[in-house]
């Protein structure tokens, strides 16, 4: 395979402007991420530490193997949303435990006592899906006050899903461990209750359906918390706990020991030596347009993500607004689809064909989304842009090889669907800080709305209030701008996290490796293609 030749001019004004702006975005990302590591604030962190407990992030660090990576999923969930904390009270991600890739979920005990918020529940659900879809053993580090009661209406009914999924995973031989460090009460008690293995920390774990006040209310029985649901009681009497740990570190060690007896993960494809890309990942900041409306060459991006910058481009001269081709990332074979402009019929057809080829050969797909949508206009409609776009969506929808989507620019309209957006269930979906997502761009959307308003006024034969219209347009534009922002998206679990563009190759490597824990075969079965 030949390496991609790069034509980037690092001295150009565009490069330097992009670099400066993107670097600023990355700094902003770092600051936002850092805000998630502070827990529920100094006061609660202090109180937690004063009780001799490890902070939830420390628990994660001490659980995973020394030197292991930890890819946090949706670290910024909840950011900017009222009544939510950045991270939504949950830390979740993929790391190595006893050499095995596991999905780890830890309650952020210093945030509302680890209570589950609305976004927190969405995040838990996503983490459960990541575990299930990729067959990753799960380890829950539990210390949670249960449902965040004031918002119970939003979480009570869907909340049952989490417990259902634990046992369904169990049935599929995907084991789960609950390590209980503190409260795990009421509904939360079913988290250990449903798990395959339960470890409880002495003098800390408290697991019961109803606490002493509720028991007193219900039956008049007076009982202390330790007798009602302490680690000792559950380890010696109720049998809910399988391992009684003297302290938190022992509990974490026990969890590691349990994982060490698991069956081996499915063998991954043999990886020969991995070539680093020929070009520096740092240059991605200068290449990717800081202004989402300015297109940029996706091959320059690919050249900085794939092994040896080698890329075997498929149908290079046909449907050129979609770049397709084969490469390797950290040794894993991949088929890459990257936008190089608006989707037209030829590029849609080419994409559908390429996805079929990758399924035939069990090659995971990487989507690099930078898409304003499908082309509109009379000529394109006549050519069958809907029919051809549908072929691509058909292929994306029915493909069974692992797919990973990275939104490196815009994600607008049906382009989001055709390029494996969230609704198309890629195994993982990450975004770059400059990324924007909406049905269409804010200017276009408000412009369209203005035209509709004017047309309506014209039909009714009334004059438009130019001032009101201008104001409406301005307000709408700013609303859409706000709502298409990458932080707005990531706060709502529309993706698995915003990443530093320079980490993309690493993150893809981790995601691909995780995907291979569930080595799904590519399919040869598709919906009816509308030819």
């Amino acid at each position: 395979m030949q390496p991609i030749k790069s034509y980037v001019d690092k001295q150009s004004e565009a490069y330097r402007d992009n670099y400066a702006a993107n670097l600023e975005s990355v700094e902003k990302l770092r600051a936002a991420l850092a805000s998630t590591t502070k827990g529920g604030g100094e006061k609660y962190v202090k109180r937690h530490l004063s009780r001799g407990r490890l902070l939830p992030r420390e628990r994660v660090e001490m659980l995973i193997d020394e030197g292991s990576y930890f890819l946090e999923i949706a670290p910024l969930a909840g950011i900017g949303i009222e009544n939510e904390f950045p991270g939504a009270g949950t830390i979740g991600g993929i790391g190595l435990v006893s050499g095995r890739e596991c999905i780890i979920v830890a309650n952020e005990a210093t945030v509302k006592g680890g209570a589950v918020s609305e976004i927190g529940q969405l995040k838990n659900r996503r983490l459960s899906d990541v575990g299930f879809q990729n067959r990753l053993p799960a380890i829950s580090l539990v210390e949670s006050a249960g449902a965040d009661l004031p918002v119970q209406a939003k979480i009570f009914v869907p909340g049952g899903r989490g417990f259902r999924e634990i046992t369904r995973r169990s049935k599929e031989r995907i084991p789960s461990i609950s390590v209980v460090f503190g409260n795990s009460t009421a509904g939360g008690a079913y988290l250990p209750g449903m798990s395959d293995y339960v470890i409880m920390v002495k003098r800390q774990a408290q697991v019961f359906l109803g606490g002493p006040p509720l028991v007193k209310m219900a039956t008049g029985e007076i009982v202390d918390e330790e007798s009602l649901g302490g680690a000792e009681m559950h380890s010696r009497v109720s049998g809910l706990s399988d391992y009684l740990a003297e302290d938190e570190l022992e509990a974490l060690r026990q969890a590691r020991d349990i994982v060490s007896h698991y069956d081996d993960a499915p063998a991954k494809p043999y990886l020969s030596s991995v070539e680093e890309p020929l070009y520096d990942e740092d240059e991605l900041l200068g290449i990717a347009s800081a202004d989402i409306r300015v297109p940029f060459e996706v091959r320059e991006i690919i050249a900085r993500l794939v092994d040896g910058s080698r890329f075997d481009e498929f149908k290079a001269k046909y449907g050129t607004t979609l770049v397709t081709g084969f490469a390797r990332i950290h040794g894993f074979r991949v088929g890459i689809l990257g936008n190089n402009g608006v989707l037209i019929s030829e590029s849609a057809n080419k994409g559908a064909q390429f996805i079929q080829l990758c399924n035939q050969q069990n090659i995971p797909l990487i989507f690099l989304q930078n898409i304003t949508g499908f082309m509109v206009g009379r000529a394109y409609e006549e050519q069958g842009i809907i029919r051809n776009g549908a072929k691509l969506i058909n292929a994306v929808s029915n493909s069974t090889v692992p797919a990973i989507t990275v939104m490196i620019g815009g994600s607008y309209g049906a382009g989001n669907y055709a390029m494996c957006g969230r609704a198309y269930e890629p195994r993982f979906l990450f975004t770059w800080p400059s990324h924007r997502i909406a049905v269409m761009g804010p200017q276009q959307l408000s412009g369209v709305m203005e035209i509709i308003k004017r047309d309506a006024a014209a039909k009714q034969g009334v004059a438009v209030d130019e001032g009101e219209l201008a104001m409406m347009r301005k307000m709408l534009e700013s609303q859409i701008t706000r709502e298409s922002d990458s932080y707005f998206a990531t706060a709502r679990l529309w993706d698995d996290g915003i990443i530093d563009p320079r980490d993309t190759r690493t993150v893809l490597g981790i995601a691909l490796s995780a995907s291979y824990n569930n080595p799904t075969e590519g399919t040869m079965e598709w919906g009816v293609f509308r030819h």
């Binding site: 990576y69 930890f70 946090e72 670290p75 010696r236 530093d500 690493t506 490597g509």
Partner: protein, 642 residues
């Protein structure tokens, strides 16, 4: 090893003898053949004359080189060889006997005109006589065992009031150590040097000397640094002492290698002490200045050849100095140390540097034999160069797993007074505080940082999942990876941050360095620490990492991420495991029990089940009585630690 090497050079096949402890020792393997002669304890093997003679019969060996220790100065052994027609490579049994008793040797020397230390060597061993002799000699005096050696039975007395006690205890000690309680008294010369002359005689009455060795640096009356020429001996004195040594040799009718030992006073007066009738540990010093192979000379003489050198043929070139590397703890009164030499590596050999080692990596240093591991000998055009070279050689030597005197030797050799040539036999005692108990905390930290990087690099190299992603990758960094070590009883935490490629920022207590890993291999790592490139040797044995660089060496224990909790639980309850009936209660409240003690017997499912204590403590409460029916999990007995 040394002897075998000389034999090989001469085309002579060699046979080693070995005890159980030396089955796989370097000397055993180095020889062409090796004969097992008994268990580890020397008295049952290496000191068994008959077994060694028998070994020669079994292998057809026709000569024995007795080495430096064990039977090397044993006249009976030499005689046993003579009687079995085996050539003993050394002096005759008669010569050994003549000089074996210190008092007899003194008298012999006096008659030969060799100066002896003023004192008493009479047969009258009455305590009063000895006391009087000591007073007449003039305090301070040295009381020595007539039959002794190695410092045993030796006392320095400065105060007349202590004489009686010293004489009696020295006599007891020599009686016990050598089966001979006789003592001699010598004037103790303060700040004296130990200067000895290497002599060689053949069977034809020729005796030559190969110059002196200054062995003044001693601890526990044993030499650890030896050099030649002596900084205190000028040409004139050398001439006179050499003559005296030759006179001594002639008087004894000495053949083969021997050493005539003198005391040299600060005023330049020398006195005979004794003759060693064997090749000595420090002989390489002489070899390096004369360019001669002394073992070869020994063998030639034993073969009956006349000395091929005349006195004027022997020329001293440059300066040679030897340091003895011991398995011992200088900070703990030089007590011998034992253990496994997890790492043993000699630096690259440069001209003028020699290592004579009897050990290798993974050697066990046992309690059975002398704890000397190796001799390092350096030769240079002058004393300064030789010392510098020796220090360089010692710094490059990695000997770990067993406490050694390496660092002590380096400090000694670098001591200003020593460098000025101001050595004497109590040099170490006088300068002890400058030589021991020193700890370079900065190097502790550096070594810990190196260990942390080594472990990180090793993990990364062994990582099968995504070997090429950045080390310890986090998309949302929380804290830097950290590792805890214990060095010399202190806990040191090292944390590090991956900056790029192979560059890390490493923090350890109050220091912060930027480290680049330049190369990594099993057993070593090359690092650039704040821009300074260096090799570090890192050898792992269990939880211990042995880190060595030319700046020092440290044994670093990796502390577990999940420390075992030693403190016992405060309370424990012994619970029923099956439903059953209490059949018997074996303990009473307040009774002390140990973990595993039986507490209660239950009858359950027609079986007797014994409930045992799971911790040490005493019985706080017995919660059931005989006949009670209990459910599984029901607490039966409470045990309290206090």
């Amino acid at each position: 090893m040394r002897v075998i090497r000389a034999c090989r050079a001469m085309g002579i096949a060699s046979v080693a003898v070995y005890s159980d402890a030396d089955t796989n020792s370097p000397h055993t393997r180095f020889a062409d053949e090796a004969v097992h002669i008994g268990p580890a304890a020397a008295k049952d093997s290496y000191l068994q004359i008959e077994k060694i003679i028998e070994a020669t019969h079994r292998t057809g060996a026709d000569a024995i080189h007795p080495g430096y220790g064990f039977l090397a100065e044993n006249a009976d052994f030499a005689e046993a060889c003579e009687n079995s027609s085996i050539v003993f490579i050394g002096p005759t049994a008669e010569a050994i006997r003549k000089v074996g008793l210190k008092s007899a040797a003194r008298r012999m020397m006096t008659s030969a005109g060799v100066p002896v230390v003023p004192g008493y060597d009479g047969e009258d061993q009455n305590t009063e006589t000895l006391k009087r002799a000591a007073i007449e000699t003039g305090l301070p005096v040295l009381i020595k065992a007539t039959a002794g050696g190695g410092g045993k039975g030796m006392r320095i007395v400065r105060d007349a009031a202590e004489l009686e006690e010293a004489i009696e205890s020295a006599a007891r000690e020599s009686e016990k150590g050598f089966g001979d309680g006789r003592l001699l008294i010598e004037k103790y010369i303060e700040r004296a040097r130990h200067v000895e002359f290497q002599v060689f005689g053949d069977n034809y009455g020729n005796v030559i000397h190969l110059f002196e060795r200054d062995c003044s640096i001693q601890r526990r009356h044993q030499k650890i640094i030896e050099e030649s020429p002596s900084p205190a001996v000028d040409e004139n004195l050398r001439q006179r002492m050499g003559e005296a040594a030759l006179a001594a040799g002639r008087e004894i009718g000495y053949s083969n290698a021997g050493t005539v030992e003198f005391i040299l006073s600060p005023e330049g007066e020398f006195y005979f002490i004794e003759v060693n009738t064997r090749l000595q540990v420090e002989h390489p010093v002489t070899e390096m200045i004369t360019g001669l192979d002394l073992v070869r000379l020994q063998i030639e003489i034993a073969e009956g050849k006349p000395l091929r050198l005349k006195q004027e043929d022997v020329i001293s070139r440059g300066h040679a100095i030897e340091a003895r590397l011991y398995a011992e703890d200088p900070d703990n009164n030089f007590l011998p140390a034992i253990g496994t030499l997890h790492d043993w590596r000699l630096p690259a050999l440069d001209a003028g540097l020699r290592f004579d080692a009897g050990v290798e990596a993974k050697s066990e240093v046992s309690i059975y034999y002398d704890p000397m591991l190796a001799k390092v000998i350096a030769h240079g055009e002058d004393r300064e160069t030789a010392i510098r070279k020796l220090v360089y050689g010692l710094r490059g030597l990695s000997a770990q797993g067993v406490q050694t005197n390496r660092d002590f030797l380096i400090r000694l050799l670098e001591h200003t007074d020593f460098r000025r040539g101001e050595s004497h036999t109590s040099f170490i005692e006088d300068h002890l505080s400058e030589l021991i108990g020193l700890r370079d905390a900065a190097f502790d930290q550096q070594a810990a940082a190196v260990a942390a990087l080594y472990l990180q690099k090793k993990r990364h190299a062994e990582n099968k999942t995504l070997p090429r992603i950045p080390p310890v990758y986090r998309n949302n960094p929380y804290r830097d990876p950290a590792v805890k070590f214990e060095i010399g009883g202190e806990t040191i935490e090292v944390s590090y941050r991956h900056l790029k490629d192979d560059v890390y920022e490493v923090r350890c207590m109050d220091s912060q360095i930027e480290a680049r890993v330049l190369s990594y291999g099993s057993g070593s790592i090359r690092l650039s620490l704040d821009g300074i490139q260096q090799w570090f040797r890192v050898v792992e044995a269990g939880d211990v990492l042995y880190v060595h660089s030319t700046a020092g060496a440290r044994a670093i224990t990796r502390l577990s991420r999940y420390p075992q909790r030693h403190e016992a639980a405060e309370h424990e309850t012994a619970n029923a495991q099956m439903p059953g009936q209490v059949l018997k209660i074996l303990v009473a409240e307040g009774q002390r029990v140990a973990a595993g003690d039986s507490l209660i017997i239950l009858e359950a499912m027609k079986m007797e089940q014994t409930i045992k204590a799971t911790m040490d403590g005493f019985i706080e409460t017995i919660l059931v009585k005989v006949g009670d029916v209990v459910a599984p999990g029901e607490p039966l007995v409470q045990i309290s630690a206090e």
